[in-house]
């Protein structure tokens, strides 16, 4: 196939074939970062603008290195530095950046839908790097890539996503990506952290961590956003850990070759114990490595003339 879309906004809208094509492209680009000279001239003379209206180190860094390893120029526009302080709208900011002839805008924003609005109004390609609780498609793709690399396939696997599902764009991109590729997805977490529209999603739901672990091929453990506790969305960190925290003992309920994923940054000793985070089953750092390959693939595909 050839890539047709101008933008990457979410996994919900992608076909199985499109997702597979990005994963294949990432697979062929991954080895660039393993070379002594980690750089190819593919995007020389292109410009990638990193518009992070919500702070982020790891995702911004990953996109920035992905662009640089493809020899693209990059420009950082973070929230604090931006003209938004002067009352300018995000659309005006983005149109101004585009007028400097950028090729790709990577956008993170705390409101769902901002990348979609920008995509409609800009000629430049737009990559959603996380919008509110909506989607974080490159995170979903890197999770798929990491699972497939180990299990050789996605179809037929049981993947349990554990934690604060309601506020997680990572969960949402995973749900769409995994189910399109044929996995069985089970959500598990406190009732207060389950999204209200959960019955419309192509998933099973449980509030019992043992059921989430049983026969699971993959556990995708979400970060507990501790500031939610102030909103009384879960009773206490101690109780959360007791009910949903993944530790070595609890892991015995899962398959022996279960894979542990976590989008990071990890709250060690809360949603995941130190021994599990650092165990052989844990692919947390492999996810970071694969994230770079996925972002290289996305920037490459979106920069091609259509």
């Amino acid at each position: 196939m050839t890539w047709q879309r101008k933008d990457l906004l979410g996994l919900q809208e992608l076909t199985q074939e499109e997702i597979g094509f990005i994963l294949e492209t990432a697979n062929s680009l991954k080895e660039i970062s393993l070379r002594p000279i980690k750089k190819v001239p593919t995007l020389r003379g292109k410009t990638v603008a990193l518009l992070f209206f919500e702070p982020s180190t790891r995702t911004r860094t990953s996109f920035e290195l992905a662009a640089k390893r493809l020899s693209s120029d990059t420009i950082n526009i973070s929230r604090d530095a931006s003209s938004l302080d002067k009352g300018e709208s995000i659309l005006d900011t983005a149109k101004n950046i585009e007028a400097m002839k950028i090729d790709i805008a990577v956008v993170r924003h705390s409101c769902a839908g901002v990348p979609q609005v920008l995509a409609r109004h800009l000629k430049a390609a737009v990559v959603n790097a996380g919008d509110g609780a909506h989607e974080h498609p490159t995170q979903g793709l890197l999770d798929l890539f990491t699972i497939k690399e180990r299990k050789r396939k996605i179809s037929g696997l049981k993947v349990s996503i554990i934690g604060d599902i309601a506020h997680s764009r990572v969960a949402r991109s995973n749900i769409w990506g995994l189910t399109k590729l044929g996995a069985r997805v089970l959500l598990c977490g406190p009732k207060t952290l389950m999204p209200p529209d959960v019955e419309k999603l192509p998933v099973e739901v449980t509030y019992d961590i043992k059921k989430a672990l049983e026969d699971a091929d993959v556990l995708n453990i979400l970060r507990l956003q501790l500031e939610r506790q102030k909103e009384s969305l879960f009773p206490s960190i101690r109780e959360y850990r007791q009910l949903f925290g993944i530790n070595h003992e609890r892991l015995r309920y899962a398959k022996a070759d279960v894979l542990i994923l976590h989008p990071g940054p990890v709250n060690r000793g809360i949603e995941i114990s130190c021994d599990v985070a650092d165990s052989q089953s844990s692919l947390i750092l492999e996810q970071v490595t694969n994230g770079l390959a996925i972002r290289m693939a996305v920037l490459y595909l979106l920069s091609k003339e259509k």
Copy 2:
């Protein structure tokens, strides 16, 4: 001609020929940003330091991309990150940066005259990227470039600059540039926002917006700095809009082919209505594109061996 100056500090000191030479150079560099590969090796191995002691996204971004498209290395020194927190003087900071063998220092500062002081003490070329209410020469040049591209000439045009003239370095650079190239410049705004030395400037002044619009070839609408209201420099935003705001209806007093310029960021619905900002007459985004070409030209001319 060949370029002789070490620095670009303001348009007041430039000759008509020098201004024309920068515009021509920008004209030949503009198409680089329209190519699929937007990069030339002209400034490879040079270093441009961006010293922004006053926050700015668009000007800093424009200079940074201009430098990168000419293959220069860039280094960002923003106010917050700088050693100024440790009580060091701006001159010491600049001399330290220069000791790292930079070629060009692009300087923005809230005090008028800072780039001039640095230019006297540094061997590196200094570009004024805005100093207090004094000058913002690359903004003046990009405005000239944008007008000339559409009208084929500057000489004989009537250009009205509307708004807070007193505090505007954009207005000042425009006044010098436009009059040197033979335009007739008219200033319009509230009396409290007119500079005390206005009669010494080569301009006409009116407080009646209709007179500013009549027969105007170009309107350069300044950004209303809303924080000025606290200083009681104008009565209310509503009254300002009624007296000086440019909307579709008011625009009928101007020529049919009048051009609308604004240095951005725009306060939509205050100094300019949304329909005018987004109309065919508006060159606001074209100004941004041309700003990049102007900055490429300036960096190129100042980096040449003299």
Copy 3:
């Protein structure tokens, strides 16, 4: 010799031969920054991560330019932007960055020992860019380089380090480097700013500024950290200046060809007078130029396959 170490953590652990080798390498790289095209392809396709958990402009800028002039890619991770806000440990942050296949991590942190911990856990080379009051090895190296360039040798010189020794990583790296290369080191400052373990260091101590100046070949004047006054570590700025400030008059006690070093940023008129800071004896800006060469040498040596 060939370079064997994975990391550069401090001068205390280096041999005389290793220090000499870095200085020689810097000497051969210094002229790159004096060329019209200040760039060599040596580190093309390498990635240097700048992890500054303590704010810094000049050291970060120096490392960033050093990396860029060797054609390395760079990535900035400053304290404010980082995931540390989200409660992640420094080790997790560093491991995450490393998972993106960086080659060298340059680390500054307010706690002594952080670079050592990272060096043990990362495959990437780690450069200590200042850790608490422990060491700042590239500053020590650039001071050695600057002295050697002028005096042709280090051995046999009398070097007096003046000021807040207790809190100075610069002093500590200088003490190790200078004594390993055969200099005689004398410390001078208020008793309250002398480290408790000073008798274990290979130095002489005096509280009399005249003794520090007599027969000195080099004065390394430390920055007075004015916030220490609140901790009552010295009586008043005026008294400090009277007792330990270096001015033109006091300089007559030293050798006629004494060299003045200061790590910057300078408190003009406090630890050093303006006339001394700007005199022929002062090498303050030369130190900055040499710092770039030292950092190029360190990045180059650590990036080589072992």
